[in-house]
Amino acid sequence: MAAPLPRWKLASALIVCGLTGYSAAPPRAADSTSVPYETEGRKSGYLFLTPATRTLQDDEFQNPGAFALERGRDLWDAPDGPDRKSCASCHGDAATAMVGVAARYPVFDAARNGLVNIEMRINAERERMKAAPYAYESDDMLALTTFLTAQSRGMPMTPDIDGPARPLFEQGRAFYEARRGQLDLSCGQCHDDRTGLRLRGDVISQGQVNGFPVYRVSWRGQASRHRIFAWCNTSVRAEPYAAGSPEYLALELFMAWRGRGLPIEAPSIRR
């Protein structure tokens, strides 16, 4: 497959298709069974994309997240560690073993007495295989996260916030509501109060996490939930936290609940 097309090329490809009456590839099976992009007023970032970018996400041959997906598929099957185990040697076919897993994450893990998201789960499994952990945001981590998450494509996010997760959930909510940075803004002041408005070139979405890991066109690559949290912190001139930090894990749980019912979209695209 070729490298992702530059934007002008995509645009012209779309125009040509439009003129010749050729419609993009039919929607994937996952899409026809997907829960809607909007539920009870909660809206996926998908609905804030231009029609051209939506088409790109819907077309599995043009979707730039497909590279990470394929690489993740290879990693699932790749033996590693001294016992030459792969994820597949214990779990078999991800399409059956991993269905619905990402839609429930992050989850409370009693052994750690804390939250675990998909990235941390992957490294815990690599530890089980006695293989070296992946760095957060490394290509391999993003690829396997994309592949695992894609096994829940179209399924609604249903995180469990009760029981021992509850206090962490409340921490995440408090994080979301706190003003921070030299610009003194809370997440909700953009993503609840000013949705749909233009912030310079960007249209502000609800800041939902259901699309992640996303291919961000402006970053030319896959990005994790924690990376966008850090970006949104930095953009109000606040000190970000580390990817995988307890603060961002708590925020991630709150954000998953805030978008409950929205479909897992990976591999997805954002501006």
């Binding site: 940075g181 030299q182 930095t234």
Partner: protein, 151 residues
């Protein structure tokens, strides 16, 4: 009447730790009847320089949120009201006060304070103890805004 102490940065300045212009803030300022009547600098504001400053991406450009009569800039924001004609509606003292501390007018405002360092949470290391604008930039931008008269 609102007093704001910007003591932290003055202490740093006195100790010689901070040499950047951002740190040269007055110890206190006062908003009286919605205005900061006196200019912050001896040098009068320069409207042409102010026009440059409001576009400057490195200084939290007003264009993130406002439309301004600067046609050569793309993508003006629509979060705050358009500022064309603002110089006919506000005095210099009122514009200065709004820039320095918008929350004095509306505690829920999302407009950043361009001249305030206290009352903030987890400011990024490189911005801590610094105001967004220098006193001279405040004056330049006030002069620019005052030049935006209704047709």
């Amino acid at each position: 009447m609102i007093w704001r102490a910007v003591i932290g940065s003055c202490l740093l300045m006195a100790a010689g730790f901070v040499s950047s212009p951002q740190a040269q803030t007055p110890a206190t300022y006062r908003i009286e009847n919605g205005e900061v009547p006196a200019p912050l600098t001896a040098e009068p504001g320069n409207p042409a320089r102010g026009r440059q400053t409001v576009r400057d991406m490195t200084h939290v450009t007003c264009l993130i949120c406002h439309a301004l009569p600067i046609p050569e800039e793309p993508d003006h924001g629509e979060i705050g009201p358009p500022l064309a004609g603002i110089g006919s509606r506000y005095s210099a003292g009122a514009l200065r006060a709004r820039l320095m501390d918008p929350k004095a007018f509306n505690p829920e405002s999302i407009m950043p304070a361009y001249f305030r360092t206290d009352g903030l949470n987890r400011v990024g290391a490189e911005f801590r103890g610094r105001t967004i604008y220098t006193p001279q930039q405040i004056e330049d931008v006030v002069a620019y805004l005052l030049s935006l008269k209704e047709p």
